[in-house]
C-alpha cells in the first residue's frame, strides 16, 4: 500500500469563524468513520494530523477542521491547486445498522457524521450541538428525517446541550464529539451506540501508542482499533 500521497486541494471553504472544510482530489471510497493523516508542512509543525472523512463521492474527499493551532492555521491558508500529503484511509469505521437511527455530533465532532448519514438506510434523526455558530445544517437535510439543533448561548435551536433533546428510542445510535459529550450520550442511550473517539496521536497506524484508550478489551489504539468503538467497550475512567 502506498504511504503518503500528494493530492490537490480542490476547495477550502471557511464555514464559521474557525471552522473550515477542505476538499481534495482523491478517488478513495472509505468507510464512514475512517480517517486520514494530513500534512502540508515539513519541520514546524512536525507531525501529521488526523481528520475523519466528512464526505466522499469517489472523486474527492472532504475534511472538516477547526483552526486551533499551527497545523490547522497552515491548512486554513491553503487555496485550490495547492498540494497536501495524505495517508489513509485509516482505522475502523462505523458499522452500518438498519432501522431507526440517531446521529449525535458536537462541534467539530460533526466531521464524520455527514458521510455516515449519507450511507445509512435510515430513517435517520440527527442531533447537532454547537457552542455559538451552527453550520452544516443544510448539508444534512437531504439525508435525514429530522434535525435537532442546540447552541450553548441559545442563538440557534435549543439553548443548552444537544444531549438534552436526545431520547432513547432508536435501534442504533452514533456519536462523535468531545469525551464529556459522548459520556452524556452514553448515559442516555442504553441500546446499541457507537462512539468515534479522538486522541493525540503521532503515527496514525498503531505504532506510537500515543492514542490508547481504556476499554473492556484492555488498552486499544484509537487509530488502529478505532476510532469507532461500541460504547459498552469504552471505559470513561479518565473523564
Amino acid at each position: 500500500m502506498e504511504a503518503y500521497r500528494k493530492v490537490i486541494v480542490l476547495e477550502n471553504t471557511q464555514l464559521t469563524s474557525d471552522m473550515y472544510e477542505m476538499k481534495v482530489e482523491l478517488a478513495d471510497l472509505p468507510q464512514p468513520g475512517q480517517f486520514y493523516m494530513l500534512r502540508a508542512w515539513a519541520g514546524v509543525p512536525y507531525l501529521p494530523r488526523p481528520f475523519s472523512v466528512c464526505d466522499a463521492d469517489g472523486k474527492s474527499l472532504s475534511f472538516l477542521y477547526q483552526k486551533t493551532g499551527k497545523g490547522t492555521e497552515i491548512m486554513a491558508q491553503m487555496r485550490s491547486g495547492d498540494h497536501i500529503d495524505i495517508l489513509g484511509p485509516l482505522g475502523k469505521g462505523y458499522p452500518l445498522k438498519e432501522g431507526n437511527v440517531a446521529i449525535i455530533g458536537g462541534g467539530v465532532g460533526i466531521a464524520p457524521l455527514l458521510y455516515l448519514a449519507k450511507n445509512l438506510e435510515g430513517p435517520v434523526d440527527v442531533y447537532l450541538g454547537f457552542k455559538q455558530e451552527a453550520f452544516f445544517i443544510e448539508r444534512f437535510k437531504p439525508h435525514v428525517r429530522q434535525i435537532f439543533i442546540s447552541t450553548e448561548n441559545g442563538s440557534w435551536g435549543h439553548k443548552g446541550f444537544v444531549t438534552e433533546l436526545l431520547t432513547d428510542s432508536y435501534d442504533a445510535a452514533y456519536a462523535c464529539g468531545n469525551m464529556l459529550m459522548m459520556k452524556a450520550v452514553k448515559d442516555k442511550i442504553d441500546g446499541l451506540l457507537y462512539l468515534s473517539l479522538e486522541s493525540h496521536m503521532a503515527c496514525g497506524i498503531g505504532a506510537c501508542l500515543g492514542c490508547v484508550q481504556k476499554t473492556a478489551q484492555g488498552q486499544l489504539c484509537v487509530c488502529k482499533d478505532g476510532p469507532v468503538f461500541e460504547s459498552r467497550e469504552v471505559l470513561f475512567d479518565d473523564y
Binding site: 503518503y4 500534512r39 509543525p45 507531525l47 498503531g206 505504532a207 506510537c208 501508542l209 500515543g210
Partner: protein, 299 residues
C-alpha cells in the same frame, strides 16, 4: 554497497528502526518491505507486562515531539511468544530492547532473550518516562556499571547499551559501559523535558516530564555521538532526530557504525526506505565503496 558489519554479522544497510517507534514491525509491513531494512529494534520490553502511562501521551514541540508512553509492552515472555516469531520471519537484524526496574528484572530478561534467536540485546538504561524504566541506571556511571556487569554473564549475544543524553557525563558513561562488558552503545535516547498547559496551569503530562525527540535534538545527539566515538573503541549506533539520508551520513562521519531512525517514522512510515535509497545514491556519486571509509572522519 551499503552493507555494514555489526558484531560479525552483515547488515544490508546501516538503517535500523528505533525502539518504541516501530512496534514489532507489523504496522509498517503494509507500507514497505521490512526485510529491506538494516534492522529493527523491538518496542521496549520489561519483565512484567506494562499498561503504560495515563493521561496525554504525545505533545508536539517545535521540530519534534515529547512522549510519555511509559513502556507499554507485552512483557519479555509475551514478546517471545507473540511477537518474536513474526520478527524472526523477516530477513533483517533483530534487536530486543530491554528496560527494567531492578537488577533482577534485567538479569531475568537478558537470560530469557539469550535463549532466543534475536541477533542482539539492546539494554535500555535510558527511558525517562517510568520510574522503573531504567533511566535511573543511565544517569550515574556507577549505577550503569552495576547493571551491565550483572547481566553480562547471562548472554553471549552482542550486548548494546542504549545511553541517555541525560547522563551526568556521556563520555564517562560510555567508557564505563564499555569497561563493564558492553559490546556496543546506542545513543541517544530522548531528552527529559517539560511542557506546561498555561490554561490549566498544570504540566501537560501526568508524569510532569517526558522525553523529547525529533529533528530538534539532532545536533546535540550528533555532538554526543562524536564525543563517545572519540572515547571508546566499540561500535556505536547513533540516533536522535534523524529524518533524511544526509543526517545518516553526518552520524556516520561522527563515528556511528549503524544508525536508528525513530520519530521520523511517525512523520512518514516509509522514510527509512527513502533514506536507504539516498545513502546508496550518495555513495555512488561520491565513489564511496564502504561506509567504513567515512566513519568517524570528524575527529
Amino acid at each position: 554497497m551499503t552493507t555494514i558489519n555489526l558484531f560479525g554479522k552483515t547488515l544490508k544497510n546501516p538503517v535500523i528502526a528505533a525502539s518504541g517507534t516501530f512496534g514489532f514491525g507489523r504496522e509498517y509491513q503494509k507500507y514497505m518491505d521490512l526485510s529491506a531494512l538494516g534492522g529493527i529494534s523491538s518496542k521496549g520490553l520489561t519483565w512484567d507486562k506494562r499498561a503504560g502511562n495515563s493521561g496525554q501521551r504525545i505533545f508536539e514541540t517545535a521540530s519534534g515531539m515529547m512522549n510519555s508512553i511509559g513502556l507499554q509492552n507485552p512483557s519479555v515472555l509475551g514478546f517471545i511468544k507473540e511477537e518474536l516469531p513474526f520478527m524472526l520471519g523477516l530477513d533483517t537484524y533483530i534487536l530486543a530492547n530491554l528496560g527494567g526496574s531492578t537488577t533482577e528484572d534485567y538479569v531475568r530478561g537478558v537470560a530469557e532473550l539469550d535463549a532466543t534467536a534475536v541477533d542482539a540485546i539492546e539494554l535500555n538504561i535510558s527511558c525517562p518516562n517510568v520510574k522503573e524504566g531504567g533511566m535511573a541506571f543511565g544517569i550515574r556511571c556507577l549505577d550503569a556499571k552495576s547493571i551491565v556487569e550483572a547481566v553480562r554473564p547471562f548472554t553471549t549475544k552482542p550486548l548494546i547499551v542504549k545511553l541517555s543524553p541525560n547522563a551526568e557525563d556521556i563520555k564517562a558513561m560510555a567508557y564505563t559501559c564499555a569497561q563493564a562488558g558492553a559490546d556496543g552503545l546506542s545513543l541517544v535516547n530522548t531528552f527529559n523535558a517539560l511542557a506546561i498547559d498555561i490554561m490549566t496551569r498544570k504540566p501537560v503530562f501526568h508524569n510532569v516530564t517526558a522525553g523529547l525527540s525529533g529533528p530538534c535534538i539532532k545536533p546535540i545527539a550528533l555532538r554526543m555521538v562524536r564525543d563517545v566515538a572519540l572515547t571508546v573503541d566499540i561500535p556505536i549506533i547513533g540516533l536522535g532526530g534523524i529524518t533524511c539520508w544526509q543526517d545518516v551520513i553526518e552520524f556516520i562521519m561522527a563515528g556511528s557504525t549503524a544508525i536508528q531512525v525513530g520519530t521520523a517514522n511517525f512523520y512518514d512510515p516509509v522514510v527509512m526506505k527513502k533514506i536507504i535509497l539516498g545513502i546508496e545514491n550518495f555513495m555512488q556519486k561520491e565513489g564511496i565503496k564502504d561506509l567504513e571509509e567515512i566513519r568517524g572522519i570528524i575527529r
